[in-house]
Symmetry: C2
């Protein structure tokens, strides 16, 4: 009998698969329609960016942002909303940075547009006056190491325009910001000026976190705008006697208490199993933290709102996490993973949005080949929404510890990356730089992926 | 012997195909590197938009734009550059439009933000004062046709946010702008106000061409900004006695002489066979014509510049055409196709860029299934550049006549469409709305497709 039964079983399962795919397609369409017509993401973002603004961990804006997140998650329809306490670093910028060219020439040179790098120390209240040496790369630094002592090192490494995905250019240039100070201090440098990691056709400096290597003296560090970087480079080759006056007053205060803000939709079948989606609530102090990462926060909240509004009760518990601290530490993500591990929670998947609120193109993953194959089996369902790119390695800083400590697969929304480094960590990262539909399509994409994972596992 | 020879032949052709693909891949990479580091597209666009600005056919800016195009094509390295004379319509906007609510109430209502539709007639110098009737659609107009006589019809048809590609929303709403006046005039309306075809979260009205049906009286027509459309709708339901004062002074002058601006790289093997690439030089008068269609012009010029700079001499003649008149007529494209037909020219393919200078996602085509299959055979070469969408029907207004009259396949660059209708035909379509890298990636994409078609045919 077996050989007669098999084809029937096969036909049944094909037909069930077909019906399932039809239902998935209809659910995705409903999600898209709802998000594109009823989303609160853009309005939520406006409050976060315009009424609260920049919200570095430890700043007075931090608790305001937490309260905002709490209310927004309640309003979106979360079953429960709670705060998860988390110690966060407290770095402050201090006075406006001052970096000037000192020359015997009589021409007026306006102060250079710079921003102290996050986590860097100040120069001391009197500032530093010293000659400057330009290096094109770390290799160039090594070649010139005997000329560095007592000088300010200017890293003029250019953001590489030939990478199609701009995050690859960031990956390529990032080490100059992160490690440039200590690498120069090793050879006796007094301070560093780092060319901003950006393609922007303007002069805004782009800050961002740096880290000291404890083996070498800590020296102050700033990022410089692209136009001023070019001017400085020209000046250096042209005016051999010039010096730089360099003053920053940034410093650390004691760690303080922040919170991950968490909202849940309890799972209907497996409430003990968690699917996480989130963005980070903190931002740099010099802008409104719109694309970085206000958009990730409001998109994550929007996923929950849309599920709730459409009566899509997930099988597993959907947990939205607004992480406390990503920019100058990863304390939010670390705390969340530590707590999950300590409580013996079972996690299915964690998704992050922290690459800007631009039109989505797909998702990056840190996952097994089988898990990637499963995502690709949904490609036809996702293509009508412009989602086609699932091959990138990634997953995001905040959900990273869940992968490291619990071994669970993680992913990150991959928006179009062309404009991200125009505004990243610069004063131009404001609400007006976010497009409503692009933001909403990102939120929909996240909801679609999480619906499919909740429904079919990963 | 045949059966021993066959595998060898097959192996050879596979290996040749492999080598060819490798060479194509390397050429595309060279094109991308060059365009992303040496493009003149953004600088060219700045001159066209900032120094010349809006350039409606017949305007004083039109000949300036032609001269700009001529010089830019020379500078890009064209073998020959010439002007193709073309009669163009000459419509002028006249005085600033005035559309106001007239009410017995004492509240101050600012004038409504409107723009006369292109090709519409004026209201007469005294203007029109009449009651207003709102309709949600043409079906609604038909239902209310007995109430229309002597009134101003307000088409409040909403741009549909649930289309993922915004051009589908435009296709859906377009007829209200194009045909709304005559449809309302049929029932005795005196003028029409049309809700702007846009998703923009602001109040800029979006103009665009309309056409009269000669069977009915010609009546004046304006587009209204989205915020004012909502205000007007609220007011209508709330203030039954209100009227509208409506004054426009736009009108046609006699047709005048314009030019298609054409630059060529002569083909090395088939100089008599032409591949065309272009955008339209004209724009609306109310903005800088940046995305519409300055970007298409500078991208087309960039294709030629990159080929020339890299020593890629096309087999067929590459012809860049900056079309004289698209916005309120298609005289440029018609003229070009008529002249090609009259001269008995052989054309291979024509590509247009007129959907904005945003990050490219692929191309639309009007082509045979075999030609589409050929494009798809290059999918692996194009995917690393974010190009994946080749299924859309399309081809563009300016190259359309080549398809109609000569039957040749045509295509159009498909950029990400989310932001296009924020700025389309509104005063916000300015240089600052264009991102340098997005513009350049579009230009590269056009160069890549044309290189493959030139090399392998279509």
């Amino acid at each position: 009998m077996l050989r007669f039964l098999l084809p029937v079983t096969l036909a049944c399962s094909v037909s069930i698969a077909h019906a399932q795919q039809h239902e998935d397609s209809a659910t995705l369409r409903k999600l898209a329609d709802d998000v594109l017509t009823h989303s609160t993401a853009y309005a939520n973002l406006k409050v976060l960016t315009k009424e609260i603004g920049g919200r570095l961990a430890g700043s007075p804006q931090m608790p305001k942002a937490e309260q905002w997140g709490f209310k927004a998650l309640k309003a979106a329809g979360a079953d429960t909303v709670y705060l998860q306490e988390c110690m966060v670093p407290h770095w402050v910028r201090g006075d406006k940075e001052e970096v000037r060219i000192i020359s015997k020439r009589r021409d007026f040179v306006p102060p250079l547009q710079v921003l102290a790098l996050g986590n860097s120390i100040g120069s001391g209240p009197e500032g530093i006056t010293a000659p400057v040496i330009e290096v094109a790369s770390f290799a160039d630094l090594e070649a010139k190491k005997d000329q560095v002592k007592g000088k300010i090192v200017f890293y003029n490494y250019h953001f590489n325009a030939t990478f199609i995905k701009t995050f690859h250019a960031y990956g390529d240039a990032f080490m100059y910001r992160a490690a440039g100070a200590s690498r120069a201090a090793k050879y006796g440098a007094l301070a560093v000026i780092v060319r901003s990691m950006s393609h922007a056709a303007n002069n805004f400096p782009h800050t961002g976190a740096m880290r000291y290597n404890d083996s070498f003296p800590k020296i102050p560090a700033v990022a410089i705008g692209l136009e001023d970087a070019d001017k400085l480079s020209n000046r250096i080759s042209d005016d051999k006697d010039m010096k730089i006056y360099f003053r920053t007053t940034c410093h650390f205060l004691s760690d303080t208490i922040g919170h991950n803000v968490i909202g849940e939709l309890k799972g209907s079948e497996e409430p003990g199993q968690v699917i996480t989606v989130g963005g980070h609530l903190d931002s740099w102090d010099v802008n409104e933290g719109a694309h970085d990462d206000g958009t990730g926060c409001v998109q994550s909240i929007e996923v929950l709102r849309a599920f709730k509004a459409l009566g899509i009760r997930p099988k597993h518990t959907l947990r939205v996490v607004l992480f406390a601290n990503e920019e100058n530490g990863t304390r939010g993500g670390q705390k969340y993973a530590d707590a999950a591990k300590a409580a013996g929670e079972k996690h299915i998947f964690a998704l992050e949005s922290d690459a800007g609120g631009f039109t989505p193109r797909g998702f990056s993953f840190t996952a097994s080949p089988e898990q990637r194959a499963k995502v690709k089996s949904w490609a036809k369902l996702l293509l009508p929404y412009g989602l086609y790119d699932f091959d990138e390695e990634g997953g995001g800083t905040d959900v990273g510890p869940l992968n490291e400590h619990l071994g669970i697969p993680i992913g990150e929304l991959s928006p179009d990356s062309q404009r991200y480094f125009d505004i990243h960590h610069a004063q131009s990262d404001v609400f007006e730089a976010v497009n409503k539909r692009e933001l909403e399509l990102g939120a929909f994409s996240m909801a679609a992926l999480l619906y499919l994972i909740d429904e079919h596992g990963l």
